[in-house]
Symmetry: C2
Subunit: 297 residues, 2 copies
């Protein structure tokens, strides 16, 4: 049970955590903190938070749990602002999509990565942002990856694990570098492809016809290109090395595919498409059938 | 009103056309034709067709409308088989995803593109195939592109237009080459990206972890990689020129994006993502809000 939770950044991620913990009865009071007065007011009106402030140093006073879900580019500033302001025994965790950069920011802001900091990443979200898009079931059956370091206090780790379990999430652990590689492959690269495709098509001469004749598959495929641009700018900068590596590998894959198409190499094309279909059917549909509702018919 | 409809290839596309026309009361008898006895039997058991045969030449006897929805690689063989077997006044149309190759196949099989052939393409589908996946509402509010040639009989064009309108589709016209360019951009290229991404990830060392931590966005993004591999092999070969051109443009786009990421060029990244989000929100969500149900929460 969390007595007083401070949420720095009450958007889709932070707001959904608040709603989930409230509906599980796993939290006492919730203090919300953010830069946008309008969003904070909405969070307050929606009963997502009990108190609000725009200063992280005030938000963390007396909090026994602090959750930071600000864009990665703002993480270090928040760490610096709360340094020395935390209550005795408080645990801090975050929802950043890249863990290496969060650990590096913490090392700079606090002098060393503190034993009470448990870096984490809930693998959940939609293409919408802001507290208005938050909902209590966002983390239900979703995975949350915690990336503790050797110095992390096991009790702090346990408390963050319990918090996420109360939301219905499945909690696992990984080292920060491995997390960043896995996410580069499954999330950051696909977002680059979707953003890149939509940007390319919007600049075509007949972009109007192009978008008019796009079907449902295109809508699904490009949904992630509606995600928050600032957030994705920060993710790219924070995970530039792992993402560049994945982009290069993908470039090689597409060069090979383009060659097969130009050569009209039917056998090679059938091999690639069959392998991909088999992998997608087995791994994606097979592994997490319950997590994402399928579009109806 | 169609008296006797022959459907060559009773899969998702052909089966859904049959079901839609039946439920609209716009067709008398339906003859189904296909290579798979099992699929034909299922179509018969599901009441999608009234008669079945595995020979296209027999299927088209006495039919006043013929719809061909076989993989593009099988199109020319079907044309050759039905040549000289059609009833007086019969109209033939198809559902092929590439129109230039269908027109070229018809020219070879019939000596010239006949005035009673109306090449067409319903912009609809799911990642599933076979008559078991067909459903009557597949074309409701979807676009169907007809690509008549100068010699096409306006009466034949009118009858095909009426047939599709009876399914609830919005029918438009385009010349075959423009159709193939638009579809290369909105359908064929996205499929290549999804197939290529899943194939790449399935060959990574830790592909198990990669797929396990993939979230809902990845599921949506890669749904089209579960599409029929043989169909997509044929599409790639049939539209190789337009698709190669789009792949090259996309490659340039991604090279630029990769450079911006490596340079950690925040301004450039924000520009790209903002443009893409604006285009996606305006064109895709704005233009066809009714056509694809959104995943629920």
């Amino acid at each position: 049970m969390i007595q007083r939770l401070a949420i720095i950044g009450v958007g889709l991620i932070g707001g959904s955590l608040a709603r989930a913990l409230r509906s599980a009865g796993a939290v006492g009071e919730i203090v919300g903190c953010g830069r946008s007065a309008e969003n904070l007011k909405l969070a307050f009106d929606l009963d997502v938070i009990d108190h609000c402030t725009r200063d992280p140093a005030i938000a963390v006073e007396d909090a026994d749990m602090v959750f930071i879900s600000v864009p990665l580019g703002a993480m270090r500033g928040v760490f610096e602002r709360i340094c020395g302001k935390l209550a005795e025994g408080a645990v801090v965790t975050d929802g950043g999509s890249v863990k290496g950069s969060v650990v590096a920011d913490a090392a700079v802001a606090f002098g060393a990565v503190p034993e009470w900091l448990v870096p984490g990443h809930p693998i959940a979200g939609t293409e919408h942002s802001g507290v208005g898009a938050s909902f209590p079931a966002l983390y239900h059956n979703r995975r949350v990856i915690l990336t503790p370091l050797p110095q992390t206090d096991p009790k702090a780790l346990g408390r963050v694990r319990e918090m996420w379990q109360a939301t219905g999430a499945q909690v696992t652990e990984m080292d920060p570098a491995h997390h960043d590689e896995v996410l580069a492959a499954t999330s950051h690269l696909p977002h680059m492809l979707a953003f890149g495709l939509v940007d390319l098509l919007s600049r075509q001469r007949d972009n109007d016809a192009i978008f008019r004749y796009a079907a449902g598959g295109f809508r699904d495929f490009t949904r992630i290109a509606s995600s928050n641009p600032e957030m994705w700018r920060d993710i790219c900068v924070a995970n530039a090395d792992a993402l560049s590596d994945m982009l290069a590998r993908f470039g090689d894959e597409m060069t090979g595919l383009a060659d097969s198409i130009r050569r009209r190499d039917s056998d090679d094309l059938l091999d690639i498409f069959s392998r991909a279909k088999a992998a997608r059917d087995a791994y994606v549909d097979g592994v997490q059938p319950e997590t994402t509702p399928r579009p109806g018919r």
